[in-house]
């Protein structure tokens, strides 16, 4: 079906209006916020929302830091979505569940360590042990998932593994529910020196740790993908699996490695979740998983740096958006609209840049 010139312009016209409207709304919110910060009594601030609240500089900064910490976690999960998409061209919806399994593993091992008394005495070593264990468990989960659920479907239309991944997601959720019961699994108390506000900008130590850990994981992944032979093979398979196999690359092996690396990143993210929120439920993987998927799309799916950038964008947007854009505009109950803000970011980015912030059209898209 070929669109006529007239239809094309009409659609373009409509999209342009949508883009402009979205940007104007955000702009108005920002202007109202700035007006309110400059002088809470000026007419524009009062016009937008007469009872607007006034954030202090510290509160604003705390929101940004909380958003960055949360976003770094989304970014780490998004890497797994992005890598699998890059190599196989389908969305593995069960990836959020791998993340949840990482957080649950962390909760169990850390409470066992706390029972033995090691958690308080030697926190750093324990944390390292917990992170490594969680990465191992998540890697194994992801590899088994690939072997059992996705490999038999290799070469089938993309829709089939996609639906399968939703099934795998439910299976893993319920598996953990049956295995460990419906209650919350809590992490032991973090040591005082970590949770207190650090002198450095008075940011909470846990948030700094989360950001640092995410940065380390990201650098490690970049090194793996860009500087090692395995990474080269992954990029080759992502470029064109058929040609890669002709060049002597074992495509199945590369795919397993991709799942393993994605799983390990989800394992790290799971522990970061535990550090931030201290507890985990068997349903904890669903919403972060969906948001991480959005982050991957926002950053440009298939692009690793983009996934992290997308995660940070969504994290900061959902942290700041309600109070900086919605509140000054007079929207009631802005804090309940966090998730709406997060997904609006996805829609607005796609309206303006359909391939994501750092996205390029992948060759695989053209192939299918």
């Amino acid at each position: 079906m070929q669109l006529t010139a007239k239809q094309r312009t009409r659609v373009d016209w409509f999209l342009t209006i949508l883009r402009v409207a979205a940007l104007v709304l955000i702009g108005a919110g920002l202007v109202a916020f700035v007006a309110q910060v400059v002088d809470s009594n000026n007419p524009f601030a009062r016009w937008a929302n007469p009872d607007a609240i006034n954030l202090t500089g510290r509160q604003f900064r705390d929101l940004v830091v909380a958003g960055l910490a949360q976003g770094a976690m989304y970014g780490l999960i998004a890497l797994g979505y992005s890598m699998v998409y890059g190599v196989l061209g389908f969305i593995n919806f069960a990836h959020g569940e791998v993340f949840m399994i990482g957080a649950v593993t962390g909760a169990i091992t850390s409470s066992k360590l706390a029972e033995a008394g090691a958690w308080e005495d030697n926190f750093v070593l324990c944390l390292l042990l917990v992170v490594v264990l969680s990465m191992v468990v998540c890697t194994i989960t992801a590899v088994i998932m690939e072997r059992v659920a996705y490999r038999p479907l290799r070469g089938k239309p993309r829709l089939i593994p996609l639906i399968t991944s939703i099934g795998v997601s439910f299976f893993l959720q319920n598996f953990i529910l049956v295995l460990l019961g419906p209650g919350t699994k809590t992490y032991p108390r973090m040591p005082e020196w970590l949770t207190e506000k650090r002198t450095f900008l008075e940011i909470q130590g846990t948030r700094l740790l989360v950001l640092a850990a995410a940065a380390v994981a990201m650098v490690g992944l970049w090194y793996l993908v860009e500087r090692t032979k395995t990474g080269k093979a992954m990029r080759a398979v992502a470029e064109d699996a058929e040609i890669a196999s002709l060049m002597g690359i074992d495509v199945n092996r590369v795919i397993v490695k991709t799942f393993a690396v994605g799983g390990a990143m989800a394992g790290v993210a799971g522990i970061l979740w535990g550090l931030l929120f201290n507890s985990v439920l068997h349903t904890a993987g669903f919403l972060p998983g969906i948001k991480a998927f959005s982050a991957a799309v926002v950053g440009g799916i298939g692009n690793l740096g983009g996934s992290m950038a997308g995660g940070l964008t969504i994290g900061v947007a959902e942290s700041l958006g309600p109070l900086v854009i919605l509140e000054p505009l007079g929207v009631s109950g802005p804090s309940q609209l966090r998730d709406a803000v997060a997904f609006s970011v996805l829609i607005i980015v796609l309206l303006v840049r359909p391939s994501g912030i750092f996205g390029e059209r992948l060759p695989s898209e053209e192939r299918t």
Partner: protein, 465 residues
């Protein structure tokens, strides 16, 4: 341009997907509209059930009415129909509580309270009482509605003890009461289900609905008075999770607090399932409240307690919660130390239930013997009282004739509406015009040490009124 070229190509190739989506959408719409039908027309099942209920007993009544006063002084005028229980059959009542899912900790003790009360009460005019299969309200409107439809389908049922959750009662109460049955809830506390204590019925009040739990207006007032007068804090904020119960209680607290002279600096909502509370807490922090009341449930409440001290502007804010957070898992966390919790007065002491002659200690002993554990929530006593009220009402509105037991539905309601000074294990019960029967006593406890949570549960620092 090229983009659209690709789009259309993709669409041509996978025409199946939109078709599938459209089919799904149609199915879900159908499912929704069906659900809505039931929602909009609670009269439908009633319309079929009630006339039959009135016709069935109408047949035997005229023939037996001339007989010399077989009714004795049984209450009721027969206007809602008369249920006949034949020899050898049981009197049908039902339990409708949240007995599965995350709120089972609340609903199971309710159901067990009913079971114990029936066992203690014994037969009514020589007829045994049959609880049937325990029903589940799932703590949701859908669950309450589905279970209520099961109940009203059986015309022998006289009354229901339930629901556990206010949200479920909003859907169940119209169905049950319009079928001529009565509903006595041991743990609904939303003001919408009864009245505002000033003569205005709540928007979900139905004649035939009663409860032995307190009205949240009282709990809100108790907390407001405690914060303002006892703690001397003159600016406070509240947080809810969007649920009718938590929203109502936060609002009741705020209203009562303004009434006693305090300033509410904000009421903020979060969503169930949220983990990062920093934005919501920051919104509250801008008003610099001295106290924060969050009558929600775990796990969201855990996150609020853990994150509030880290938010700039809330460092020294006193945290308070309602009995929803009064669970062992939360009290064991260091974050909860120093908090205050409001809830129904559980100091039952030597109160004796007049229907069975049992006191709280005896019931608890029987509970532990029967179920191998102590109750996981506070409302087992309210449930026990609700059940004996229902059984007493049935006894007062029934008579034996030709070996059959006849129960006047209107008489059951008449008895319940006239309850005054009834001695229950939870205190003295008196029903007002809108079904509020509880003793309406609220206490506040202070949680001092996470190491000794049993001591905290008994550490009552304030009683209201």
């Amino acid at each position: 341009m090229n983009r659209f070229g690709i789009l259309t190509k993709a669409r041509q190739k996978r025409r199946g997907i939109p078709l599938l989506l459209a089919l799904l959408a149609v199915f879900s719409l159908l499912a929704m509209s069906c659900g809505n039908d039931d929602d909009d027309a609670p009269a439908a099942p009633e319309a079929t059930a009630a006339p039959e209920a009135t016709q069935a007993p109408a047949a035997p009544e005229p023939t037996e009415a001339p007989a010399p006063d077989p009714r004795g002084d049984a209450l009721g005028d027969g206007s809602l129909g008369i249920v006949t229980v034949s020899t050898g059959e049981g009197i049908q009542i039902r339990s409708l509580n949240a007995i599965s899912g995350p709120v089972a900790f609340l609903g199971l003790p309710n159901q067990r309270g009913v079971e114990l009360a029936i066992a203690d009460y014994g037969d009514i005019h020589g007829f045994s009482v049959d609880l049937g299969t325990p029903l589940d309200d799932l703590c949701s409107a859908e669950g309450g509605q589905a279970a209520a439809q099961t109940i009203v389908a059986d015309e022998q049922v006289i009354g229901v003890v339930g629901t556990s959750c206010s949200g479920a009662a909003v859907a169940a109460s119209p169905l049950v009461t319009q079928a001529g049955m009565v509903m006595i809830s041991p743990s609904n506390t939303s003001p919408a289900l009864t009245s505002d204590f000033e003569g205005n019925p709540g928007e979900s009040y139905n004649v035939g609905y009663y409860r032995t739990a307190h009205n949240d207006l009282v709990q809100g007032a108790a907390m407001a008075n405690f914060v303002f007068s006892e703690l001397g804090i003159s600016a406070a904020a509240a947080l809810h999770d969007g649920d009718p119960y938590t929203q109502g209680l936060a609002q009741a607290f705020s209203n009562a607090y303004e009434e006693v002279g305090g300033t509410t600096t904000g009421i903020v909502g979060i969503n169930k399932g949220d983990t990062d509370m920093v934005p919501a807490l920051t919104e509250l922090a801008t008003g610099s409240p001295g106290a924060l009341f969050f009558p929600i449930f775990p796990p969201e409440g855990d996150h609020v307690a853990a994150q509030a001290p880290t938010v700039s502007g809330l460092e020294g804010t006193q945290l308070l919660a309602a009995d929803g957070m009064l669970v062992d898992g939360f009290l064991e966390l260091a974050d909860s130390e120093g908090m205050y919790f409001s809830g129904p007065d559980l100091r039952f002491g030597s109160n004796v239930n007049q229907g069975t002659g049992r006191n709280a200690d005896q019931i608890l002993a029987a509970y532990e013997a029967a179920y191998g554990e102590l109750p996981s929530a506070a409302f087992w006593g309210h449930s026990y009282d609700a059940a004996t009220l229902l059984l007493d009402a049935i006894a007062a509105a029934s008579w034996v004739e030709d070996g059959d037991l006849h129960i006047d539905r209107a008489g059951v309601r008449q008895y319940l509406s006239e309850v005054s000074g009834y001695s229950g294990v939870t205190g003295s019960l008196s029903c007002d015009d809108f079904g509020d029967c509880a003793s309406q006593k609220i206490t506040v406890i202070h949680h001092e040490s996470a190491a000794d949570i049993e001591a905290s549960k008994n550490n009552v620092v304030y009683a209201y009124p």
